[in-house]
Symmetry: C2
Subunit: 478 residues, 2 copies
């Protein structure tokens, strides 16, 4: 039984979630491991997902006035060192280039782990007057961080991302841009990926190296662990002062620019897998699925079956859907299993009997529901079904998030919930880093964010009992 083999090869989620994840990325052919340690090969099915993510995000960026550019991939060591916090955060995990061709370099350079320093160096020469502002630039590229332990999409030595870097005349404008881009990310996750997120601010301990404030969107995976899915940083004038990026304002006075940066990476593909996937494999939201409908012919050697399958495909493509026919010489059961493994949202089954009756079977990937539909009404049905699937997937993910968000009022409750449950825990915090560190030490959980939507759960810090200043989402994170 070929179809059996394909399915049996996946570990069940509840048995071993980490192994299930690895099985899915491999079996759905999203990635392959490479002989370059800690780096992955992104295969066509994985890269097509990234292309769709890029297309959607890029369009949304450009609607807000973003322009794309490209900076060098190397950072001379002296440039990396210009902002103190930044170099401390990144220097231990960069890859160093020391030789060009046969000769040693006069100054070694790292492969960018992120490009703040390069953008600052560029802005220093490019910004002179208030007329040159704002700069709202972004680049799509790969970055390198020398991680010790790696996992496909979630943590690898090289990953793909976009990094936006902006410069503004005023603090207000920079703050507004930081929030605007966080909202772009959150809306994208919810509308396109069907992933609900919690929006909030990172604590000082968890913020980006060199930032004044870091904002984040946090998503909850199926196993109850959190995944930081996008960040937006307000730098204030910190980088501008370190790099000397000044402009002449309307009163002819020299001012430092206010900067932001924001990024989303291929990590988000990990979120798609771990929020929506099930024991049959990947489940893709229709809006991001490279193939939305797979037509599977039954008894395809019978006259007219393949022709009908192609006819259906062409009709659906003409209606604007992304459709394929699986006309390989595998058995229908094997094809079903493959389509399910790859997370294709809808399967259309068409065989000789269906053709006789002028009907076909459509099957939803997200809930397994099967419906008989008249072939003539198929396009209309699919137009209706895809948005329904998209909506239902978001609803399910929202429900999961709600059901796995807990509240703890005191230390005991806090420990109890994390020992019994897996998810977010909302709890009050006094604002001091010591409590945050002790919580991490004792419970192996970290502060995920101080959400924009604050609640007053109690008046006291969940750890030390002193007056609370913030409600925090805590959790175990990828």
């Amino acid at each position: 039984m070929a179809e059996k083999k394909l399915v049996e090869a996946i570990t069940s989620m509840n048995e071993d979630f980490a192994q299930w994840y690895t099985d899915v990325v491999k079996k759905a052919e999203l990635i392959d491991y490479s002989n370059v340690k800690g780096c992955m090969v992104i295969k066509p099915a994985g890269y097509a997902l990234w292309e769709n993510i890029q297309k959607e995000l890029d369009r949304r960026f450009k609607e807000t006035g973003v322009e794309n550019v490209y900076m060098p991939m190397f950072i001379p060591e002296s440039l990396l060192q210009k902002e103190k916090d930044h170099v401390e955060g990144f220097a231990p995990e960069v890859a160093w280039v020391t030789h060009g061709g046969l000769n040693p370099l006069q100054e070694r350079m790292c492969v960018r782990p992120t490009s703040e320093t390069l953008f600052c160096d560029f802005y220093k020469g490019d910004i002179h007057s208030y007329r040159d502002l704002p700069k709202v630039y972004n680049q799509w590229c790969s970055v390198v961080r020398w991680e010790k332990e790696t996992r496909p999409f979630l943590r690898s030595r090289e990953f793909l991302w976009q990094e936006g870097h902006t410069a503004h005349a005023t603090e207000e404008e920079a703050v507004a841009r930081t929030e605007q881009m966080l909202n772009v990310y959150a809306d994208f996750c919810s509308e396109v990926l069907a992933i609900p997120v919690v929006k909030g601010r990172k604590t000082d301990k968890e913020k980006f190296a060199g930032a004044e404030a870091t904002y984040t969107i946090e998503a909850l995976m199926h196993d109850g662990k959190a995944l930081q899915s996008g960040t937006s940083h307000n730098f204030g004038t910190g980088f501008a002062e370190a790099f000397g990026i000044q402009y002449t304002d309307k009163e002819n006075k020299l001012q430092y620019v206010h900067q932001t940066s924001w990024g989303v990476s291929t990590r988000i593909i990990g979120a798609i897998i771990m929020v929506h996937g099930d024991d049959s494999g990947l489940v893709l939201p229709p809006m991001i699925a490279p193939t939305q409908v797979m037509v599977v012919p039954i008894l395809q050697k019978k006259e007219g079956v393949l022709e009908k399958a192609d006819e259906i495909k062409n009709k659906l493509i003409a209606s604007g859907f992304r459709v394929k026919v699986d006309d390989s010489d595998k058995s229908p059961g094997f094809k079903f299993a493959e389509q399910e493994m790859r997370g294709i949202p809808v399967r259309v089954e068409i065989g000789p009997k269906d053709i006789e009756n002028g009907t076909c079977i459509i099957c939803r990937r997200d809930n397994g529901e099967k419906i008989e539909v008249k072939i003539d009404e198929l396009s209309a049905k699919i137009s209706e079904l895809l948005p329904t699937i998209q909506k239902d997937m978001l609803e399910r993910a929202k429900k999961h998030l709600e059901e796995h968000t807990y509240v703890a009022k005191d230390k005991e409750e806090f420990k109890k919930v994390f020992s019994e449950k897996s998810g977010f825990v909302k709890a009050m915090w006094c604002g001091c880093q010591e409590c945050e560190e002790k919580i991490k030490e004792e419970m192996s959980v970290t502060s995920r964010c101080m959400p924009f939507e604050q609640e007053n759960i109690s008046d006291e810090c969940v750890y030390c009992g002193k007056p609370a200043t913030k409600m925090v989402y805590w959790g175990r994170a990828y």
Copy 2:
């Protein structure tokens, strides 16, 4: 005079073509030099060109069945060394990573100068049976070659490109793919960039390190120098044998795969500049221009002028054109000069008098022609004008190519034409590398390609007088 300043800053083409080129890339804001030696910053106007090139090429690739992937950017030294010719060609010009974080690497790795070795290593594990073939993969990425002398777009230590890498069951299929992709490139150049090219095969001396045959498209720049604008390589089974990439055929026998690779880089932006540009700056073919029409309001402070300009913009955008209004506080003359410098194909001038008359002035960037048009007929006129400009630009470039392609029958003629003229010279060649090398030594010209369209100019090699085997295009190259 602000507009004067902008224009005066460019060197005239005939005075100093190299300086003209540098002035244009800088003044049209395509690139900026960076503090990373030999690397450039691609600014919004330059990157938008690359995005349009990517979009057009990627669509054409996918129509031929290409799938995009992403390979690691690092190549372990031992992997680079697997194919003998390949390592000899590239090792002297790669950047070496020797440290990850604080620790030296066990094996140093280079930043990819090209990814044949990575694709081969991947294919070795991914290809088993004839069912796994063909593989028609491509990636969009940046590569690094440690060049000593660099020039924006034409030669830099890091550049952006696409590299296609395919594996096939048969030699015929590999040969067909090599030719198909060369044709995709040639058609793209002609149809989208308005650049005519000569298609042909490289001599063994000029072919890619590790290739059995390299095919090329060669374009002629305004100064008569050649620019290799895209290449397509047939590897035969050379890499497959070095890496052990075998598949089981239908008769259950082990066979080596046949491979190809093909690439186009940001270098092609250099060709756009040097084929079409003039003393006022860049001239962009409408199909690739990020902005196709710039609306310039005249006396814009007068009531209704800016409103009318915006109305025109919106109408043209609704008709599917890429349009902007220059409503900055610069003078019209300055705006004209800027629009010309940036190569925007059409300018629409609209002032109070025009509005009164219900007309506007449109001005072609490529030939300076001005026409008065009724505002109501503007969209129709632009629909007609943009393809006309595109066509005229291709015609002019073709004429330039023809007028600067010469013929030489013997050594004396050959030397004479290269001492007096600048362009391609068609001449016969015996096929021996010694003649090719001596020609390079004595005349500082190289063989550009053995064109597919062969002519019999004479029966003897232009250098040694022995029987000729091929007609070759010779020229000075970028």
